[in-house]
Symmetry: C2
Subunit: 205 residues, 2 copies
DNA sequence: CACGCTCCATACTCTAGAGTATGGAGATAT
DNA sequence: ATATCTCCATACTCTAGAGTATGGAGCGTG
């Protein structure tokens, strides 16, 4: 995909493709924020000059759209497909909640993109990603027997808690929980599948 | 404060102060994001030219610091002081949770600032605000008899849920709950003071 | 009245970064 | 070999916005 011929222009590196630029853009955003996504900075990182960029893309916004398209794919369909491999809905929900009670990476791509929600391109992508994830959560809750008005509310609440923790890790890392085990206990107790089969001693509703 | 003399330079408007510029900056940020905070844009909004700005502030970052200082005051000490007027801790917690289950304004200042968390000035302020609020929440939970490792976890969880909902309102308004009453029910059930009273924990006394 | 202080206007400079124009080197096709 | 396509370098233009230099109008006080 990277080349069409057989030989290489240079012995070390094949020539770049639009996908290479988009991928590098995602890395740059995750590391330094979307404000740092500069055509020239990207060119330097790829070892070329910015003149070559405009051969692959019409402009910066086209690059951004391509990069976000790739990220959206991974953040929704692929991630959900991976989770759906777990057949037991209860186990699935537990896995997601567990992931939401671990210390987030300090500089996630999601958090970096949230900084640029004023950008219409970014906002549309964030909207779709959040919608897809909440819909999936809602489906999980319904699969566990929770009825409709409540299932959606629980899904939104779960995702808001996850999203908020991610945001706090970005904008105020100092306030993150020090004791993650007790945080996980609180979250599972609040959002867990069904309070029926609680094997925690005492404390039963 | 706005004037030192008695007369006005113009009949309609007194001359501007640094506080006026800072206040206008906060409004501009809330409306159009921190990216739109431009010296010239502010000057236009205030009906003057940008030459006058540099009489009040050394530069843009000094203005930003002054504006954020004002906001921080309102977001922490003043808000907390208002809440502490409610003597009953249970009622206080209910008020806060209720505020966290109402549809947020689409363009809050907090959300606008979160977009610029890469800025060191903004990040420090966000950190302090979040810390103050979580500390207060933690104190409320402890006042209700919840012990320490759990009280902090509950406080962080509550604030993360609030913060996440605020963020979703900003970056993906389409996923907000349609039925706010059932959302409030879920949140209160999960974060409410004590699971002892199974009824809605608000109508006491 | 003369003088000084405060707030502001006018008119510049300077820089970052997007976008453009054009040519060139290597690979491939004919 | 010649033509052509692809990817890139060089070297420009153009704009937004920060920051600066300087003068001026109104109001105060000696």
């Amino acid at each position: 995909m990277a080349r069409k011929g057989t030989g290489a222009k240079r012995l070390d590196e094949p020539t770049l493709t639009a996908a290479d630029w988009a991928e590098a853009a995602l890395h740059l955003i995750a590391e330094a924020g979307l404000g740092a996504l500069t055509v020239e900075a990207l060119a330097v990182r790829l070892g070329v000059t910015k003149g070559s960029f405009y051969w692959h893309f019409k402009g910066r916004s086209e690059l951004l759209a391509a990069a976000l398209g790739r990220w959206e794919q991974r953040a929704t369909t692929e991630a959900i497909a991976g989770l759906s491999a777990v057949t037991d809905a209860r186990q699935r929900l537990y896995l997601m909640l567990e992931a939401a009670t671990k210390s987030p990476r300090s500089r996630s791509l999601y958090a970096a993109l949230a900084e640029a929600a004023e950008d219409p391109i970014v906002r549309r992508v964030l909207n779709r990603v959040a919608s897809a994830r909440i819909k999936y959560l809602e489906a999980c809750y319904r699969e566990l027997g929770i009825e409709q008005p409540r299932a959606k509310a629980k899904a939104v609440f779960s995702y808001a808690a996850y999203r908020g923790l991610l945001q706090l890790a970005h904008e105020a890392p100092a306030v993150l929980p020090t004791d993650w085990s007790s945080y996980a206990a609180v979250v599972l107790e609040a959002l867990g599948p069904v309070p029926r089969a609680k094997r925690r001693p005492g404390r039963q509703r």
